[in-house]
Protein backbone atom coordinates (compact mmCIF):
# COMPACT_ATOMS: atom_id res chain seq x y z
CA UNK A 1 0.00 0.00 0.00
CA UNK A 2 1.26 3.43 -0.84
CA UNK A 3 1.79 5.83 2.01
CA UNK A 4 -0.66 8.32 0.43
CA UNK A 5 -3.46 5.75 0.66
CA UNK A 6 -2.63 4.92 4.29
CA UNK A 7 -2.67 8.58 5.14
CA UNK A 8 -5.95 9.20 3.36
CA UNK A 9 -7.64 6.33 5.18
CA UNK A 10 -6.42 7.65 8.52
CA UNK A 11 -7.77 11.12 7.72
CA UNK A 12 -11.08 9.55 6.68
CA UNK A 13 -11.41 7.71 10.00
CA UNK A 14 -10.43 10.80 11.97
CA UNK A 15 -13.04 12.94 10.20
CA UNK A 16 -15.78 10.34 10.67
CA UNK A 17 -14.92 10.16 14.38
CA UNK A 18 -14.98 13.96 14.72
CA UNK A 19 -18.38 14.14 13.04
CA UNK A 20 -19.73 11.45 15.36
CA UNK A 21 -18.44 13.36 18.39
CA UNK A 22 -20.15 16.53 17.12
CA UNK A 23 -23.46 14.65 16.84
CA UNK A 24 -23.04 13.30 20.37
CA UNK A 25 -22.29 16.78 21.77
CA UNK A 26 -25.34 18.15 19.98
CA UNK A 27 -27.49 15.44 21.53
CA UNK A 28 -26.26 16.03 25.10
CA UNK A 29 -28.48 19.06 25.83
CA UNK A 30 -31.54 17.39 24.33
CA UNK A 31 -31.00 14.18 26.29
CA UNK A 32 -30.25 16.02 29.53
CA UNK A 33 -33.33 18.24 29.19
CA UNK A 34 -35.50 15.16 28.66
CA UNK A 35 -33.80 13.26 31.48
CA UNK A 36 -33.97 16.09 34.01
CA UNK A 37 -37.59 16.99 33.25
CA UNK A 38 -38.80 13.39 33.30
CA UNK A 39 -36.80 12.29 36.35
CA UNK A 40 -37.76 15.29 38.47
CA UNK A 41 -41.25 15.84 37.11
CA UNK A 42 -42.72 12.37 36.62
CA UNK A 43 -43.20 11.77 40.35
CA UNK A 44 -45.65 14.68 40.59
CA UNK A 45 -47.92 13.45 37.79
CA UNK A 46 -51.41 12.51 38.92
CA UNK A 47 -54.95 13.01 37.73
CA UNK A 48 -55.38 15.76 40.30
CA UNK A 49 -52.36 17.61 38.93
CA UNK A 50 -54.21 18.04 35.62
CA UNK A 51 -57.60 18.95 37.09
CA UNK A 52 -57.09 20.85 40.35
CA UNK A 53 -56.35 24.50 41.08
CA UNK A 54 -52.98 25.43 42.58
CA UNK A 55 -52.79 25.38 46.37
CA UNK A 56 -51.18 28.05 48.59
CA UNK A 57 -47.67 27.52 49.91
CA UNK A 58 -47.43 24.73 52.44
CA UNK A 59 -50.71 23.11 51.53
CA UNK A 60 -50.05 19.74 49.85
CA UNK A 61 -51.74 18.57 46.63
CA UNK A 62 -53.23 20.93 44.11
CA UNK A 63 -52.56 21.08 40.40
CA UNK A 64 -52.19 23.22 37.34
CA UNK A 65 -55.59 22.57 35.78
CA UNK A 66 -56.28 26.28 35.32
CA UNK A 67 -52.86 26.85 33.72
CA UNK A 68 -53.32 23.96 31.29
CA UNK A 69 -56.76 25.20 30.28
CA UNK A 70 -55.38 28.76 30.22
CA UNK A 71 -52.63 27.84 27.76
CA UNK A 72 -55.13 26.11 25.48
CA UNK A 73 -57.48 29.11 25.81
CA UNK A 74 -54.76 31.66 25.05
CA UNK A 75 -53.48 29.69 22.08
CA UNK A 76 -57.05 29.19 20.83
CA UNK A 77 -57.75 32.92 21.01
CA UNK A 78 -54.41 33.63 19.32
CA UNK A 79 -55.41 31.25 16.50
CA UNK A 80 -58.74 33.04 16.05
CA UNK A 81 -56.82 36.26 15.47
CA UNK A 82 -53.63 34.95 13.87
CA UNK A 83 -54.76 32.21 11.47
CA UNK A 84 -57.03 34.33 9.23
CA UNK A 85 -54.43 37.12 9.11
CA UNK A 86 -51.43 34.83 8.60
CA UNK A 87 -53.02 32.51 6.03
CA UNK A 88 -54.74 35.41 4.25
CA UNK A 89 -51.47 37.33 4.02
CA UNK A 90 -49.73 34.19 2.74
CA UNK A 91 -52.31 33.71 -0.03
CA UNK A 92 -51.96 37.39 -0.96
CA UNK A 93 -48.16 37.12 -1.12
CA UNK A 94 -48.38 34.03 -3.32
CA UNK A 95 -51.01 35.40 -5.70
CA UNK A 96 -50.20 39.12 -5.80
CA UNK A 97 -46.82 39.23 -4.06
CA UNK A 98 -44.75 40.46 -7.01
CA UNK A 99 -46.05 44.01 -6.61
CA UNK A 100 -44.20 46.67 -4.55
CA UNK A 101 -46.84 46.24 -1.82
CA UNK A 102 -46.23 42.50 -1.79
CA UNK A 103 -42.48 42.96 -1.52
CA UNK A 104 -43.06 45.38 1.37
CA UNK A 105 -45.27 42.89 3.20
CA UNK A 106 -42.77 40.08 2.66
CA UNK A 107 -39.91 42.23 3.97
CA UNK A 108 -41.99 43.25 7.00
CA UNK A 109 -42.90 39.63 7.75
CA UNK A 110 -39.24 38.59 7.55
CA UNK A 111 -38.18 41.38 9.91
CA UNK A 112 -41.09 40.73 12.28
CA UNK A 113 -40.26 37.02 12.57
CA UNK A 114 -36.87 38.03 13.97
CA UNK A 115 -38.25 40.36 16.65
CA UNK A 116 -37.61 38.95 20.17
CA UNK A 117 -40.83 37.69 21.75
CA UNK A 118 -40.46 39.88 24.84
CA UNK A 119 -40.54 42.95 22.59
CA UNK A 120 -43.83 41.70 21.16
CA UNK A 121 -45.05 41.34 24.75
CA UNK A 122 -44.15 44.96 25.48
CA UNK A 123 -46.02 46.05 22.36
CA UNK A 124 -49.15 44.14 23.40
CA UNK A 125 -48.79 45.69 26.88
CA UNK A 126 -48.71 49.16 25.37
CA UNK A 127 -51.48 48.51 22.88
CA UNK A 128 -53.97 46.67 25.06
CA UNK A 129 -53.03 46.40 28.73
CA UNK A 130 -52.40 50.12 29.24
CA UNK A 131 -55.65 51.37 27.63
CA UNK A 132 -57.70 48.61 29.33
CA UNK A 133 -55.91 49.30 32.62
CA UNK A 134 -55.91 45.57 33.26
CA UNK A 135 -53.99 42.40 32.39
CA UNK A 136 -56.13 40.14 30.19
CA UNK A 137 -56.30 36.96 28.16
CA UNK A 138 -56.96 38.99 25.02
CA UNK A 139 -53.70 40.92 25.49
CA UNK A 140 -51.79 37.66 25.80
CA UNK A 141 -53.56 36.20 22.78
CA UNK A 142 -52.74 39.29 20.68
CA UNK A 143 -49.06 38.96 21.64
CA UNK A 144 -49.04 35.28 20.64
CA UNK A 145 -50.92 36.07 17.41
CA UNK A 146 -48.34 38.72 16.44
CA UNK A 147 -45.67 36.05 16.91
CA UNK A 148 -47.58 33.50 14.79
CA UNK A 149 -48.49 35.70 11.83
CA UNK A 150 -45.14 36.28 10.06
CA UNK A 151 -43.97 32.66 9.97
CA UNK A 152 -47.45 31.44 9.13
CA UNK A 153 -47.73 33.95 6.27
CA UNK A 154 -44.37 32.98 4.80
CA UNK A 155 -44.97 29.22 5.03
CA UNK A 156 -48.48 29.60 3.58
CA UNK A 157 -46.96 31.61 0.72
CA UNK A 158 -44.44 28.86 -0.04
CA UNK A 159 -47.12 26.15 0.11
CA UNK A 160 -49.55 28.07 -2.13
CA UNK A 161 -46.75 28.73 -4.64
CA UNK A 162 -46.21 24.97 -4.87
CA UNK A 163 -49.76 24.49 -6.22
CA UNK A 164 -49.39 24.01 -10.00
CA UNK A 165 -50.54 26.99 -12.10
CA UNK A 166 -52.43 24.52 -14.30
CA UNK A 167 -54.98 24.04 -11.49
CA UNK A 168 -55.64 27.79 -11.25
CA UNK A 169 -56.09 27.93 -15.02
CA UNK A 170 -58.44 24.94 -15.00
CA UNK A 171 -60.62 26.67 -12.44
CA UNK A 172 -60.53 30.08 -14.18
CA UNK A 173 -61.40 28.42 -17.50
CA UNK A 174 -64.55 27.04 -15.88
CA UNK A 175 -65.65 30.62 -15.31
CA UNK A 176 -64.83 30.59 -11.58
CA UNK A 177 -63.92 34.09 -10.29
CA UNK A 178 -60.32 34.63 -9.20
CA UNK A 179 -61.05 35.04 -5.47
CA UNK A 180 -63.02 31.81 -5.42
CA UNK A 181 -60.27 30.05 -7.37
CA UNK A 182 -57.72 31.18 -4.77
CA UNK A 183 -59.81 30.03 -1.80
CA UNK A 184 -61.65 26.96 -3.05
CA UNK A 185 -59.12 25.42 -5.43
CA UNK A 186 -55.61 26.73 -4.72
CA UNK A 187 -55.86 27.04 -0.92
CA UNK A 188 -57.69 23.74 -0.66
CA UNK A 189 -54.95 21.98 -2.59
CA UNK A 190 -52.33 23.44 -0.23
CA UNK A 191 -54.41 22.75 2.89
CA UNK A 192 -52.56 19.63 4.05
CA UNK A 193 -49.28 21.52 4.26
CA UNK A 194 -50.92 24.54 5.86
CA UNK A 195 -52.38 22.37 8.65
CA UNK A 196 -48.83 21.21 9.43
CA UNK A 197 -47.56 24.80 9.45
CA UNK A 198 -50.40 25.81 11.80
CA UNK A 199 -49.58 22.98 14.23
CA UNK A 200 -45.94 24.04 14.37
CA UNK A 201 -46.96 27.68 14.94
CA UNK A 202 -49.36 26.57 17.72
CA UNK A 203 -46.64 24.49 19.37
CA UNK A 204 -44.27 27.45 19.36
CA UNK A 205 -46.93 29.80 20.74
CA UNK A 206 -47.80 27.33 23.52
CA UNK A 207 -44.17 27.35 24.66
CA UNK A 208 -43.83 31.15 24.90
CA UNK A 209 -43.42 32.80 28.33
CA UNK A 210 -42.03 36.28 27.76
CA UNK A 211 -44.97 37.72 25.78
CA UNK A 212 -47.42 36.51 28.44
CA UNK A 213 -45.61 37.82 31.55
CA UNK A 214 -47.10 41.31 31.38
CA UNK A 215 -50.12 40.67 29.16
CA UNK A 216 -52.11 37.66 30.36
CA UNK A 217 -50.14 37.76 33.64
CA UNK A 218 -51.40 34.85 35.77
CA UNK A 219 -54.45 33.76 37.71
CA UNK A 220 -54.90 31.42 40.69
CA UNK A 221 -58.39 30.46 39.50
CA UNK A 222 -60.17 29.21 36.40
CA UNK A 223 -60.79 31.90 33.82
CA UNK A 224 -62.36 31.87 30.39
CA UNK A 225 -63.19 35.58 30.21
CA UNK A 226 -61.11 37.37 27.57
CA UNK A 227 -60.86 40.57 29.63
CA UNK A 228 -59.46 38.89 32.76
CA UNK A 229 -55.89 37.79 33.63
CA UNK A 230 -55.35 34.15 32.73
CA UNK A 231 -52.95 31.48 33.95
CA UNK A 232 -50.68 29.65 31.50
CA UNK A 233 -48.36 26.69 31.84
CA UNK A 234 -45.28 28.69 30.99
CA UNK A 235 -45.89 31.58 33.39
CA UNK A 236 -46.91 29.10 36.11
CA UNK A 237 -43.62 27.24 35.61
CA UNK A 238 -41.77 30.55 35.80
CA UNK A 239 -43.50 31.56 39.06
CA UNK A 240 -43.00 28.15 40.68
CA UNK A 241 -39.36 27.96 39.61
CA UNK A 242 -38.33 31.37 41.01
CA UNK A 243 -40.14 30.76 44.32
CA UNK A 244 -38.13 29.77 47.41
CA UNK A 245 -40.31 26.72 48.19
CA UNK A 246 -39.23 23.12 47.63
CA UNK A 247 -42.81 21.96 46.95
CA UNK A 248 -43.27 24.58 44.21
CA UNK A 249 -39.95 23.62 42.60
CA UNK A 250 -41.22 20.06 42.27
CA UNK A 251 -44.43 21.36 40.76
CA UNK A 252 -42.43 23.47 38.28
CA UNK A 253 -40.69 20.30 37.06
CA UNK A 254 -43.97 18.44 36.69
CA UNK A 255 -45.61 21.37 34.89
CA UNK A 256 -42.55 21.54 32.60
CA UNK A 257 -43.05 17.87 31.79
CA UNK A 258 -46.70 18.53 30.93
CA UNK A 259 -45.69 21.42 28.66
CA UNK A 260 -43.03 19.27 27.01
CA UNK A 261 -45.58 16.53 26.35
CA UNK A 262 -48.06 19.06 24.90
CA UNK A 263 -45.56 20.74 22.58
CA UNK A 264 -43.88 17.46 21.72
CA UNK A 265 -47.11 15.76 20.72
CA UNK A 266 -48.10 18.75 18.54
CA UNK A 267 -44.74 18.54 16.77
CA UNK A 268 -45.04 14.79 16.34
CA UNK A 269 -48.55 15.18 14.92
CA UNK A 270 -47.28 17.82 12.47
CA UNK A 271 -44.43 15.54 11.34
CA UNK A 272 -46.80 12.61 10.97
CA UNK A 273 -49.24 14.66 8.88
CA UNK A 274 -46.57 16.08 6.59
CA UNK A 275 -45.00 12.68 6.11
CA UNK A 276 -48.27 10.95 5.23
CA UNK A 277 -49.04 13.86 2.86
CA UNK A 278 -45.74 13.35 1.04
CA UNK A 279 -46.41 9.65 0.77
CA UNK A 280 -49.90 10.17 -0.69
CA UNK A 281 -48.49 12.54 -3.32
CA UNK A 282 -46.05 9.96 -4.64
Amino acid sequence: MSSALVRRRAVDRLMTALAAVAVAVALVPLASVLWLVVSRGAAGLSWAFFTHLPTPVGEPGGGIGNALVGTLYLVGLACLIGLPVGIGAGVYLAERGDSPIGRGIRFTADVLSGVPSIVVGVVAYGLIVVPMKRFSAIAGAVALAILMVPTLARSTEELVRLVPGALREASLALGVPEWKTSLRVVLRTALGGIVTAVLIAVARAAGETAPLLFTALNNQYWNLKPDQPTASLTVQIFNYAISPYEDWHAKAWTAALVLLLLVGSLNLLARFLSRSRLRSQR
Binding site: E169, S171, L172, A173, L174, G175, V176, V185, R188
Partner: protein
Protein backbone atom coordinates in the same frame (compact mmCIF):
# COMPACT_ATOMS: atom_id res chain seq x y z
CA UNK B 1 -69.19 30.27 -45.51
CA UNK B 2 -72.95 30.23 -45.20
CA UNK B 3 -73.71 30.29 -41.45
CA UNK B 4 -72.47 33.35 -39.52
CA UNK B 5 -69.28 32.64 -37.57
CA UNK B 6 -69.52 31.62 -33.91
CA UNK B 7 -66.26 33.31 -33.03
CA UNK B 8 -64.57 36.00 -35.08
CA UNK B 9 -61.18 37.58 -34.50
CA UNK B 10 -60.71 40.97 -36.16
CA UNK B 11 -57.29 42.67 -36.39
CA UNK B 12 -56.13 40.87 -33.22
CA UNK B 13 -52.71 41.76 -31.84
CA UNK B 14 -51.31 40.09 -28.70
CA UNK B 15 -48.32 41.14 -26.60
CA UNK B 16 -46.11 39.82 -23.79
CA UNK B 17 -44.34 42.72 -22.05
CA UNK B 18 -44.15 44.75 -25.25
CA UNK B 19 -43.19 41.85 -27.52
CA UNK B 20 -45.80 41.32 -30.20
CA UNK B 21 -46.57 37.59 -30.43
CA UNK B 22 -49.64 37.84 -32.68
CA UNK B 23 -49.86 40.34 -35.54
CA UNK B 24 -53.10 41.47 -37.10
CA UNK B 25 -54.93 38.14 -37.02
CA UNK B 26 -58.42 37.99 -38.51
CA UNK B 27 -60.06 34.60 -38.42
CA UNK B 28 -63.61 33.21 -38.42
CA UNK B 29 -64.56 30.05 -36.52
CA UNK B 30 -67.82 28.63 -37.89
CA UNK B 31 -70.36 27.06 -35.49
CA UNK B 32 -70.64 23.32 -34.80
CA UNK B 33 -67.41 22.48 -36.57
CA UNK B 34 -63.77 21.83 -35.71
CA UNK B 35 -61.17 24.45 -36.57
CA UNK B 36 -57.57 23.28 -36.24
CA UNK B 37 -54.78 25.75 -35.56
CA UNK B 38 -51.37 24.49 -36.65
CA UNK B 39 -47.89 25.93 -36.83
CA UNK B 40 -44.39 25.48 -35.41
CA UNK B 41 -43.58 26.10 -31.73
CA UNK B 42 -43.75 29.74 -30.72
CA UNK B 43 -45.89 30.78 -33.69
CA UNK B 44 -48.61 32.19 -31.40
CA UNK B 45 -51.23 29.48 -31.85
CA UNK B 46 -51.70 28.86 -28.09
CA UNK B 47 -51.74 32.61 -27.46
CA UNK B 48 -54.47 32.98 -30.08
CA UNK B 49 -56.56 30.32 -28.36
CA UNK B 50 -56.06 31.98 -24.96
CA UNK B 51 -57.21 35.32 -26.38
CA UNK B 52 -60.53 33.73 -27.34
CA UNK B 53 -61.61 33.19 -23.70
CA UNK B 54 -59.51 36.06 -22.28
CA UNK B 55 -57.10 33.74 -20.45
CA UNK B 56 -54.19 35.50 -22.21
CA UNK B 57 -54.63 38.69 -20.18
CA UNK B 58 -54.21 36.74 -16.89
CA UNK B 59 -50.50 36.27 -17.60
CA UNK B 60 -48.57 39.14 -15.97
CA UNK B 61 -47.48 41.66 -18.60
CA UNK B 62 -49.75 40.28 -21.31
CA UNK B 63 -52.39 42.20 -23.22
CA UNK B 64 -54.23 42.13 -26.53
CA UNK B 65 -55.77 44.66 -28.90
CA UNK B 66 -58.34 44.25 -31.64
CA UNK B 67 -61.73 42.60 -31.50
CA UNK B 68 -63.01 39.13 -30.78
CA UNK B 69 -66.68 38.58 -31.39
CA UNK B 70 -68.77 35.78 -29.93
CA UNK B 71 -72.10 35.63 -31.79
CA UNK B 72 -71.33 39.14 -33.02
CA UNK B 73 -70.70 40.64 -29.56
CA UNK B 74 -67.22 41.96 -28.73
CA UNK B 75 -65.82 39.88 -25.86
CA UNK B 76 -63.30 42.62 -25.01
CA UNK B 77 -66.15 45.13 -24.62
CA UNK B 78 -66.41 47.19 -21.45
CA UNK B 79 -69.62 45.53 -20.32
CA UNK B 80 -68.36 41.96 -20.79
CA UNK B 81 -67.37 40.07 -17.63
CA UNK B 82 -64.47 37.71 -18.52
CA UNK B 83 -65.68 35.31 -15.83
CA UNK B 84 -69.04 35.00 -17.55
CA UNK B 85 -67.37 34.70 -20.96
CA UNK B 86 -65.30 31.72 -19.75
CA UNK B 87 -68.48 29.86 -18.84
CA UNK B 88 -69.55 30.14 -22.49
CA UNK B 89 -66.10 29.39 -23.91
CA UNK B 90 -64.57 26.40 -22.11
CA UNK B 91 -60.98 25.22 -22.31
CA UNK B 92 -59.03 21.95 -22.17
CA UNK B 93 -55.30 22.15 -21.56
CA UNK B 94 -52.21 20.39 -22.86
CA UNK B 95 -51.53 18.41 -19.70
CA UNK B 96 -54.44 16.76 -17.90
CA UNK B 97 -55.07 18.90 -14.81
CA UNK B 98 -57.79 17.33 -12.65
CA UNK B 99 -58.17 18.85 -9.17
CA UNK B 100 -56.02 16.54 -7.00
CA UNK B 101 -58.02 16.97 -3.78
CA UNK B 102 -61.33 16.05 -5.42
CA UNK B 103 -62.96 12.78 -6.41
CA UNK B 104 -63.92 11.95 -10.00
CA UNK B 105 -67.50 13.08 -9.33
CA UNK B 106 -66.40 16.28 -7.60
CA UNK B 107 -64.07 17.17 -10.46
CA UNK B 108 -66.92 17.10 -12.98
CA UNK B 109 -69.27 18.89 -10.58
CA UNK B 110 -66.61 21.49 -9.63
CA UNK B 111 -67.71 24.08 -12.18
CA UNK B 112 -71.35 23.72 -11.15
CA UNK B 113 -70.60 23.96 -7.44
CA UNK B 114 -68.03 26.74 -7.60
CA UNK B 115 -70.35 28.77 -9.80
CA UNK B 116 -73.38 27.93 -7.62
CA UNK B 117 -75.32 26.57 -10.59
CA UNK B 118 -78.41 24.82 -9.23
CA UNK B 119 -79.93 21.67 -10.63
CA UNK B 120 -79.50 17.93 -10.62
CA UNK B 121 -75.72 17.64 -10.34
CA UNK B 122 -75.77 13.84 -10.45
CA UNK B 123 -77.57 13.88 -13.78
CA UNK B 124 -75.19 16.55 -15.13
CA UNK B 125 -72.12 14.58 -14.06
CA UNK B 126 -73.41 11.41 -15.72
CA UNK B 127 -74.32 13.27 -18.93
CA UNK B 128 -70.88 14.91 -19.15
CA UNK B 129 -69.00 11.71 -18.38
CA UNK B 130 -71.01 9.94 -21.10
CA UNK B 131 -70.31 12.75 -23.57
CA UNK B 132 -66.62 12.46 -22.71
CA UNK B 133 -66.78 8.66 -23.31
CA UNK B 134 -65.58 8.02 -19.75
CA UNK B 135 -68.78 6.95 -17.96
CA UNK B 136 -68.41 3.18 -18.42
CA UNK B 137 -64.85 3.25 -17.12
CA UNK B 138 -65.53 5.26 -13.94
CA UNK B 139 -69.21 4.73 -13.05
CA UNK B 140 -68.30 2.29 -10.26
CA UNK B 141 -65.69 4.53 -8.65
CA UNK B 142 -67.04 8.06 -8.86
CA UNK B 143 -65.90 8.69 -5.28
CA UNK B 144 -62.29 7.68 -5.96
CA UNK B 145 -59.49 10.23 -6.41
CA UNK B 146 -59.12 11.59 -9.93
CA UNK B 147 -55.36 11.00 -9.65
CA UNK B 148 -55.93 7.25 -9.84
CA UNK B 149 -56.96 7.52 -13.49
CA UNK B 150 -54.58 7.04 -16.43
CA UNK B 151 -53.39 10.11 -18.34
CA UNK B 152 -55.91 9.55 -21.15
CA UNK B 153 -58.75 9.06 -18.67
CA UNK B 154 -57.68 12.19 -16.78
CA UNK B 155 -57.81 14.20 -20.00
CA UNK B 156 -61.32 12.91 -20.79
CA UNK B 157 -62.26 13.79 -17.20
CA UNK B 158 -61.01 17.33 -17.84
CA UNK B 159 -63.16 17.45 -21.00
CA UNK B 160 -66.18 16.28 -18.96
CA UNK B 161 -65.38 18.95 -16.36
CA UNK B 162 -65.31 21.62 -19.07
CA UNK B 163 -68.62 20.38 -20.54
CA UNK B 164 -70.40 20.51 -17.16
CA UNK B 165 -70.84 24.29 -17.20
CA UNK B 166 -72.52 23.89 -20.63
CA UNK B 167 -70.22 26.03 -22.76
CA UNK B 168 -71.00 26.83 -26.37
CA UNK B 169 -67.39 26.75 -27.53
CA UNK B 170 -64.63 24.34 -26.49
CA UNK B 171 -61.01 25.43 -26.88
CA UNK B 172 -58.48 22.60 -26.84
CA UNK B 173 -54.78 23.39 -26.43
CA UNK B 174 -52.88 20.34 -27.72
CA UNK B 175 -55.22 18.06 -25.75
CA UNK B 176 -53.50 14.84 -26.85
CA UNK B 177 -49.84 15.82 -26.94
CA UNK B 178 -49.13 14.25 -23.52
CA UNK B 179 -50.99 11.01 -24.37
CA UNK B 180 -50.12 7.71 -26.04
CA UNK B 181 -51.57 6.82 -29.50
CA UNK B 182 -54.51 4.80 -28.14
CA UNK B 183 -55.59 7.52 -25.73
CA UNK B 184 -55.08 10.04 -28.54
CA UNK B 185 -57.39 8.06 -30.85
CA UNK B 186 -60.08 8.11 -28.14
CA UNK B 187 -59.81 11.88 -27.77
CA UNK B 188 -60.03 12.30 -31.55
CA UNK B 189 -63.16 10.12 -31.73
CA UNK B 190 -64.57 12.22 -28.94
CA UNK B 191 -63.91 15.45 -30.87
CA UNK B 192 -65.96 14.01 -33.77
CA UNK B 193 -68.84 13.36 -31.37
CA UNK B 194 -68.61 16.72 -29.64
CA UNK B 195 -68.75 18.88 -32.76
CA UNK B 196 -72.43 18.04 -33.19
CA UNK B 197 -73.12 20.13 -30.04
CA UNK B 198 -70.16 22.41 -29.58
CA UNK B 199 -67.99 24.71 -31.65
CA UNK B 200 -64.42 23.48 -31.29
CA UNK B 201 -61.05 25.14 -31.84
CA UNK B 202 -58.06 22.85 -31.40
CA UNK B 203 -54.38 23.76 -31.34
CA UNK B 204 -52.16 20.90 -32.39
CA UNK B 205 -48.54 20.17 -33.24
CA UNK B 206 -49.59 17.04 -35.03
CA UNK B 207 -50.53 17.65 -38.65
CA UNK B 208 -52.06 14.22 -39.15
CA UNK B 209 -54.29 14.96 -36.19
CA UNK B 210 -55.37 18.28 -37.70
CA UNK B 211 -56.14 16.48 -40.97
CA UNK B 212 -58.14 13.79 -39.17
CA UNK B 213 -60.29 15.86 -36.83
CA UNK B 214 -60.82 19.28 -38.37
CA UNK B 215 -63.11 20.82 -40.96
CA UNK B 216 -61.05 23.97 -41.35
CA UNK B 217 -57.37 24.58 -40.66
CA UNK B 218 -55.51 27.79 -39.91
CA UNK B 219 -51.73 27.92 -40.32
CA UNK B 220 -49.84 30.34 -38.05
CA UNK B 221 -46.19 31.25 -38.52
CA UNK B 222 -44.11 33.71 -36.44
CA UNK B 223 -47.19 35.47 -35.09
CA UNK B 224 -48.92 35.82 -38.47
CA UNK B 225 -51.96 33.95 -39.71
CA UNK B 226 -50.54 32.73 -43.01
CA UNK B 227 -53.52 30.91 -44.43
CA UNK B 228 -56.90 29.52 -43.45
CA UNK B 229 -59.28 27.32 -45.39
CA UNK B 230 -60.98 23.95 -45.58
CA UNK B 231 -58.64 21.34 -44.11
CA UNK B 232 -58.42 19.33 -47.31
CA UNK B 233 -57.40 22.37 -49.31
CA UNK B 234 -54.74 23.42 -46.78
CA UNK B 235 -53.15 19.98 -46.89
CA UNK B 236 -53.43 19.36 -50.65
CA UNK B 237 -53.45 22.65 -52.51
CA UNK B 238 -52.31 25.44 -50.16
CA UNK B 239 -52.12 28.90 -51.69
CA UNK B 240 -49.02 29.98 -49.76
CA UNK B 241 -45.54 28.55 -50.22
CA UNK B 242 -44.88 28.65 -46.43
CA UNK B 243 -48.00 26.57 -45.76
CA UNK B 244 -46.94 23.99 -48.32
CA UNK B 245 -43.43 23.82 -46.87
CA UNK B 246 -44.82 23.27 -43.37
CA UNK B 247 -47.52 20.70 -44.17
CA UNK B 248 -45.12 18.71 -46.33
CA UNK B 249 -42.60 18.65 -43.50
CA UNK B 250 -39.87 20.86 -45.01
CA UNK B 251 -39.56 22.66 -41.65
CA UNK B 252 -41.19 22.89 -38.22
Amino acid sequence: MSAPAKLTAVDLHAFFRGTEVLRDVSLEIPPLSVTAIIGPSGCGKSTFLRCLNRMHELTPGAHATGRIELDGQDVYGRDVDPVHLRRRVGMVFQRPNPFPTMSIFDNVAAGLRLNRIRGDHEASVERCLRQAALWDEVKDRLGASALGLSGGQQQRLCIARALAVEPEVLLMDEPASALDPIATAKIEDLIHELKTRYTIAIVTHNMQQAARVSDRTAFFYMGDLVEVGPTEQIFTTPREQRTEDYVTGKFG
